[in-house]
């Protein structure tokens, strides 16, 4: 009998608690929709509120910096931030646009997703008028966003991949620092030298490596494609991946000789590149320029050691002629405007995107160490004036002068090709299959999927 009474009593108590909780839940629904509706479109000095999507707002200051900076310049427009997830932003945005519920202004994380949204969704407003205002402007490159003769987004940050290196480690080991003319062979040579000399300089031979090659597929594949000297139409979109072979040979060689943590360990134990370079476990790190700001703030907070570091242009393909401007890759991050917007709201949202992509927004972003889209001299000096940024000329050139290709060539089928190349990457780097076999397998899979035109 005991149990019966208990079960009934527990259920009754539970019911009471839940009813109260349910009533409370009713009060919690968001009130954003009521605030959003700005009615008449005509008067210019009318107060307008636009919503702006950002991710991990507490940890990522760029969104608040843009919102506040813009409000200061345009006091009648308020930018209200909506919180999204850094990891799953595109999932949320897909759902939003699908239901026609996207915010007024929202970032485009990479060009491939931009292509999908721009081409298929109809949820992005035409921003060609802003693009035209930048015509002939050498400080900003809006061409990656050209789609069927129109522009549906404007860049607000333009990170590119450079070579980060630890000056202290190079000095202590007595190895020559990277220069602007490095090829991947020079990179290999320096790694060999560091491998020999670092232990003698007092670094732990078991945990300190000459380099850290992160486990993303782009670390190998996007360099290979950008520097191959051929167009993506000739190679990538034909599923002809011969251009990847020399890059994989080198990568496996580095791994075999212990110049870097092996790919499998890096991948399965989730090695953080910030920790590897920041705590001086690696002397060289190919990474995007966004890492500069992270490193500066981690050196301040104590998450990273204090040491002198610099940026060098990314090493070039040893098998082709050395280009005058170093070729690297990196996708701009853009801002798009909702096609649902009209009137004053649309005007305000466009004004915001124009400001964010131009010198005003770029100065604000450079002030917090973010690599912006508008590379005027004023912006550059602002970026390097931040406390903790390197001051040498090589770092400044590396940061501002490069021929930046897209991380992935953009077109129909890119996502499928990328998925299969990602599988090939893990198969090659774990040595589950040979380079030739894995790439042939990828070619077969891509052909069998029917995405090639």
């Amino acid at each position: 009998m005991n149990m019966n009474r208990h079960a009934t009593k527990a259920l009754a108590a539970f019911a009471a608690v839940s009813t109260i909780a349910m009533l409370a839940a009713g009060c919690g629904s968001s009130s954003s929709s009521s605030q959003q509706s700005a009615k008449s479109a005509d008067s210019t000095n009318q107060k307008v509120t636009i919503t702006f999507a950002g991710w991990s707002l507490d940890q990522t200051p760029e969104f608040k910096t843009l919102a506040d900076g813009f409000h200061k310049a345009h006091p009648n427009i308020t930018v209200k931030l909506k919180e999204y997830s850094a990891d799953d932003y595109d999932k949320q945005l897909t759902a939003d646009i699908s239901a026609g519920a996207q915010p007024d202004v929202f970032p485009m994380k990479n060009l491939q997703k931009y292509y999908t949204y721009g081409h298929e969704s109809g949820g992005l407003a035409d921003l060609s008028s802003i693009a035209n205002s930048y015509k002939g402007n050498k400080y900003i490159n809006v061409s990656p966003y050209k789609l069927d003769g129109k522009y549906y987004a404007m860049p607000y940050r333009a990170d590119a991949w450079v070579l980060f290196y630890n000056k202290d480690m190079f000095k202590k080991a007595g190895v020559a620092e990277p220069n602007a003319k490095w090829t991947w062979d020079d990179y290999t040579k320096a790694a060999a030298e560091l491998k020999k000399k670092l232990p003698a300089a007092g670094y732990d031979a078991n945990s300190v490596y000459p380099m850290y090659q992160h486990n993303w597929q782009s670390v190998i594949q996007s360099f290979a494609l950008a520097q191959s000297g051929k167009t993506a139409q000739q190679t990538f979109f034909k599923a002809n991946f011969n251009y990847l072979k020399p890059y994989y040979k080198r990568a496996l060689d580095w791994q075999d000789k212990g110049y870097t943590i092996d790919w499998n360990t890096s991948f399965t134990t989730k090695v953080q590149y910030q920790a590897q370079f920041g705590t001086q476990k690696a002397a060289m790190l190919p990474m995007g320029t966004w890492y500069a700001a992270t490193l500066v703030s981690q050196q301040k907070s104590g998450d990273a050691d204090k040491f002198e570091w610099g940026m060098a242009p990314i090493p070039q393909n040893p098998d082709t002629k050395l280009p005058s401007t170093p070729i690297t890759f990196g996708d701009p991050t853009g801002l798009a405007v909702s096609s649902k917007d009209t009137g004053a709201k649309l005007a305000a949202a466009k004004e915001f995107v124009k400001w964010a992509s131009g010198e005003g927004g770029s100065l604000a972003l450079a002030g917090i160490g973010t690599t912006p889209s508008y590379f005027s001299p004023k912006v550059q000096s602002k970026f390097f004036s931040a406390d903790g940024m390197p001051q040498d000329e090589l770092s400044k050139t590396a940061w501002s002068k490069h021929d930046t290709k897209a991380e992935n060539p953009v077109g129909p089928g890119t996502d499928t090709i990328q998925s299969d190349l990602k599988d090939a990457n893990s198969a090659i780097m774990t040595k589950s299959s040979s380079i030739d076999a894995a790439l042939k397998d990828a070619t077969d899979k891509i052909k069998s999927s029917g995405v090639l035109q």
Binding site: D90, K91, T94, A95, I97, S98, T116, E120, S121, G122, G123, N264, T265, F267, T268, T269, K270, D415, T416, Q418, S419, D420, D423, A424, S426, A427, M429, T430, K431, S432, S433, A438, D441, D444, K445, S448, S449, G450
Partner: protein, 311 residues
Amino acid sequence: MSSQTASPAATRRHRSANEKHAHAITRRNTRNGLLFIAPNFLGFIFLTLIPVIALFFIAFSRWSAFGMPQFNGLTNWKRLGGDKVFWAAFGNTFYYSLVHIPLTLIVAFLLAILLNSKLKGRTFFRTVAFFPYITSIVAAAQVWSMLFDARSGVINQFLRLFTSHVPGWLGSTQWAMVAVIIVATWREAGYYMILLLAGLQTIPHTLYEAAELDGANAWQRFWHVTVPSMRPTLFFVMVTLTIGSFKILDLTLVMTDGGPGTSTLVLAQYIYRVAFEQGDFGYSSTVSLVLFAICMIVTLIQFYYNRSKED
């Protein structure tokens, strides 16, 4: 149990005796039955059933999640036939399920029986058994990756005592799935243990007493009392375990992301990949229907087997 069989027979008898009365009973039962089901069913129809039915249309369409799906007949289904990645995922899903289902069932059942006894500290051990299910999956994947490390991991150090040919675990196409299965079993055994425990507790004790009076030993009591009395619960656990195994996603996503190569790529992850990474929700729905069909076939087999055992 007798419940399922007794009633149709009873209904039949009633019908021959008094058709009208039987009709009245059926009407009343239908009304009562639907009343009981209604609160759940209304929510179920709008939130689950309608979107699921929409899926059957989307599977025959081209759809990028935006606008309306465009019907494209059998195009998606033809693509399925030649799609090598799909077939790799198909094979991996079966491999995973066929090993994981019996393994988890056995471990969970043993745990449930052990922790159903008057063992000292059973609350502690039950809680411990449930812990893997509530530990953050990132933490679980991390520690297991370390244990599985080919060179310095505890598991391989132990295996080296017996053999010099130790597996490469997560870095090897042959062993990665085995590692995933081990971790999945570790993670889910406690969860199914809870369900089985609840089932064990509904067995009337008098049945055991009667069996013992008949001279049945522990094994016979288990086989002839516990298992038959547990049949409804076992059916439930088997079906959810089967469906859960065929739909496995989060663990491979965190541990291997389908690699190395496609050696641990499963159907659910392929669905996810095609939909959210490649933006092809039409084809992703097609693959979903395949997964749905597999689950349904296995479930129906279990359903009819279960019924035949009850008869």
